[in-house]
Subunit: 346 residues, 4 copies
């Protein structure tokens, strides 16, 4: 039995962690941490949990939690996990951080894009970027996982094979991403009210979104050279889901079969990445509630570009599901344990 | 390993049966029946199933299916199951019919409300109305289950305790029900297009909806006398969920505690019925994707009425989940096997 | 040119007042009042208004506003209008109050249901309940209008003819109402976030909603005796629209034609009330953006009840549109001036 | 009084034409044409029109219609208008074709992308591409208008100033567009059912969408040389609205003020194009129900690209509203007559 603690359990990603872990027999949640709801019943904050959880919310004492948990998930605001990290915690429990605190290796880049001082930069190098499809081996032995961002996960997995194989010029990559509203969090803001979001779509953070350097760092590693991309996120009137439509200029003429073979090379043994059939565009609804990323591509000979697409549930593969996938790897369990979820449709 | 066949597998209820059964290790789906999609890959009709199902759709040969299955689910249009029922089928496989064919004991009532001739009325008496919360013992030994309708399940479970205990006059019961659009099926009709349903709500089938006699029959059994009710369904712009708001006149003055005790008496040992805390109104999102029915009530001393409320996922407890609950009982399995699903939120 | 001032211009009802008045040539808006956004550009709060309004928001100085306006609309929280009302204001400008402050004649009932002290009860008797379909003559000469609530407008107009004509027992009336989310206002609350409202429906304020005594007062006047009703509002995932489904017990046997004749008697000369064709259920989308109320009914001989239905845009006929209808009457203009709006579909 | 006839009046664009024209005093609709609903009451097909229209639908006899109308709008499937065009029609009435039949000057390009034979190519050269912001003078004297497509209108107006001024390399232009579901029409298809569209987003027609050559032709005219672009449309769960996010590589270093000045140069005298304030991203809800296009841009010095954005109501500026704008110009009326519509929010 793995004992798991969740910091930030009353946000949407925290709630998804609880939802997924509560359905397992081999994990026990020992700590529902929440700054805003201390001492309130967790099932009164997320009423879907009635009958599953009788516990009240705990405060944010990470050291106390480390005593009671084998693994700690931090689904907390930027800077929070870094501010509490120390050897006492890491010596007692594995930490999977769903915030951005340890994702970017260059602390100056982190501090510039997030406009925040990093309190424990000494752990950045140790932290493993928890994208199992590329870092599986490193994850196995890690103490501290930087769980990837939602947009970076979907963006990277959509374009990675063609960048890695040198099929496209990585500096021509433009990523136009669309996200459901749960990505905006559960804070009470006018901009996220039902009537403000419903029946509308808009871009936001154009040219300045914080997930940009994270995507660039991973693509640079794949390309073996510095990569700069355009990244534009959009807010879509739906609860869950991220769709990525990415564009890249081809460096040589290719056939459908050649490109398909490259995607298959990287993903045919990956349980959570489904390469769709020819001309089948990924759709967020087909992955909702699951840990899958559906990817596909379309060669456009007229423009010499390839359109790369990916669809994913932002709260699962984009947050809680990927965190649990990492936990499974760290604890030597089958990677898809508790995650063989058939997407919910409709 | 239970071998299961699904007739009508390409409708929404059929797809939900597949989704729920595919996540079990003790059930194997041997037949995806579909009149409209014969020989097409099932996962091309429901693309959430990619990687889970490689089978193509089969035709509607129920006898052939009975040879290959221990249990047959018929998620088919009214009249279809009745037209294929015979001793050869029932001697080989248990049948759980999700249509209305065997729900109503008086065939004349069925034929009048459904405007259809019943082809095998000789099986109506044998069929057990598959609402485990009241018919558990009969379900255990049944060969043929009439799986309850979505509205009747939510309506009945919301008002049953107070009718059974004689607390309200059953002939004053008014049920105002609201359903998500998956209840309207997957047929291509202008009325169910996105733009016609979105941003709108309407009543339909006012005074003539086919689920009325089914609710009345079950309430009559509970009351021990004939009951006539008002039932009005509404179409709501959401995929899943049924909410019932029911009104009844109290036959005596009662306190919150007294009514709460009655609900608890009937439901505290029922895994799938959650009686909410005082003043907590059931909400469809809190049960989405699960087999739960959340119920609650409010006494209104000004009008001497009680408002009874219930929320449920129409495709799970209102269709596929309840059918599987019945299957579990019929096969001697724990009733909640494969159904301990935490509702998905948001 | 009528000079109009709006207090509470940055709420949804205030914004709708601006939207409707800006499209008229005979009205000029002189004051966009807003406690929260003083000195900010109005078009930065409601960006649909870009190019139409260059003004900044003003504070809540009603006396100063009265100097600059012929009519003042107060789309403000309960108690606000009452706290600023005085002879100086009323002697200079007509006031149309969209809050509940002057709707209920018995101040004790108001104070009990709204849990607030009324600061100027001396104006309650003078105030005219601004439902033109029943109070047109009184509105003509009024200085102070109590603009009806959204639920009361739709509820009352749906059941009024049958109560007035004594066709139903008014104390059997049960009103099950459903509203879009703009009715919940533009305040930043977790409960009204997109992800909390979307894909869900729930009842709220069961048995205690503040619009109950307002409906009862008007129905009592129509019936000529005290009336007590059940009223249950629901929150629906859509921006706009109210649907009312009301139930009443018939006092005598009636035909469709007889009931239709009664509805026609009251409404055939009413521009804003459309009695639909037989068996056509009102639908909120068919009235969106307009000042119409669509009503219809269904006799249910099985239960001896009649189901009365009404659909309306809560921000138009339920708030801003009705307020402008009242303004038109008060200023001697054609009642539908600026309000001959074709509903927007889809 | 202008007499107007609508062919294809029962589609969404046809309904929007009726909605907008019915609110004018200077236009009379003489013909509601509809192949599918001949002889049925128009207000029974679009129930928002009850009380506004008493007419029944007519057949598709364009010559008979030309006798009764000053202007004919054809909101009909591709090929329909071309198949009925002749001198008899054009000599009697002006024709504004909302289909693609006369948009593309090279008939071979039209026939290839639309996979249809053009029946009257002899009128292609005469037809004027009805985008008033660039072709106002030619529209004045035209007999036949090719009303632009929805995506082309929003795409072109978003990128036009920077292409025209040579600020960006037109062959680097990538247009990622997102549309509400009314763009898919009112035909009964499973793919457009509420439950299939809701809570999902997907790309479609990747690399092969028919609006691509239309955008390219207009951009080529603006650039003065052949232009090839990438264009990807997406289906978004909302009724109305198109959002365009376009990317282009800058040919020189520019400041915000320089680019803003270019947009202002082209649009400050255009009533229907609103250039938003710095860093304000266009949002479809802010233009809903109106004929506005909101545009803006963001320079990204990191990538040397500019992101150009536009938002528009696909049924108004993208179809019916633009057609009426063209009609106003052709009949010598103020261009915004009947179109000074404040967008509806929320």
């Amino acid at each position: 039995m793995i004992k798991a603690g969740i910091m930030g359990a009353t946000g949407y990603a925290g709630g998804e962690l609880a939802r997924l872990l509560l359905q397992r027999d081999d994990v026990e949640i020992t700590w529902y941490g929440s700054k805003s709801y201390v001492d309130q019943k967790y099932a009164s904050v997320f009423k879907n949990m009635v009958q599953f959880v009788d516990d009240a919310c705990m405060d944010d004492n990470m050291e106390a939690l480390a005593e009671q948990a084998d693994v700690i998930f931090t689904a907390t605001p930027q800077g929070f996990c870094a501010s509490l990290m120390n050897e006492a915690v890491l010596s007692k429990a594995k930490v999977i951080d769903l915030s951005a605190d340890y994702r970017i290796k260059d602390v100056a880049v982190y501090e510039k894009w997030y406009n925040i001082e990093h309190k424990t930069p000494e752990y950045i190098q140790e932290a493993v970027y928890g994208l199992p499809e590329i870092n599986r081996e490193k994850i196995k032995g890690a103490r501290l996982i930087a769980n990837p961002g939602c947009y970076p996960t979907c963006s990277f997995l959509s374009v990675y094979p063609l960048v890695k194989e040198g099929l496209i010029d990585p500096n021509t990559v433009i990523i136009d991403a669309k996200s459901g509203t749960s990505g905006a969090g559960r804070g009470a803001k006018v901009d996220n009210l039902y009537c403000e979001v419903n029946e509308s779509i808009k871009a936001y953070g154009v040219g300045v979104h914080r997930h940009t350097p994270e995507i660039e760092e991973q693509l640079s590693l794949a390309a073996g050279k510095p990569v700069t991309i355009s990244f534009t996120p959009h807010l879509v009137p739906m609860n869950r889901g991220i769709l990525v439509t990415a564009y890249g200029t081809l460096l040589k003429s290719v056939t459908y079969e050649e490109v398909k073979a490259i995607y298959d090379k990287y993903y045919e043994n990956e349980y959570f990445v489904r390469v769709l059939s020819r001309d089948e565009a990924p759709q967020t609804k087909w992955v909702e509630g699951s840990n899958f990323v559906d990817v596909n591509f379309k060669i456009d000979p007229r423009t010499n570009r390839v359109v790369m697409m990916g669809a994913m549930d932002n709260l699962v593969k984009g947050a809680a599901g990927q965190a649990i996938q990492n936990m499974n790897i760290m604890f030597g369990l089958p990677e898809n344990q508790g995650l063989k979820l058939v997407p919910m449709f409709p």
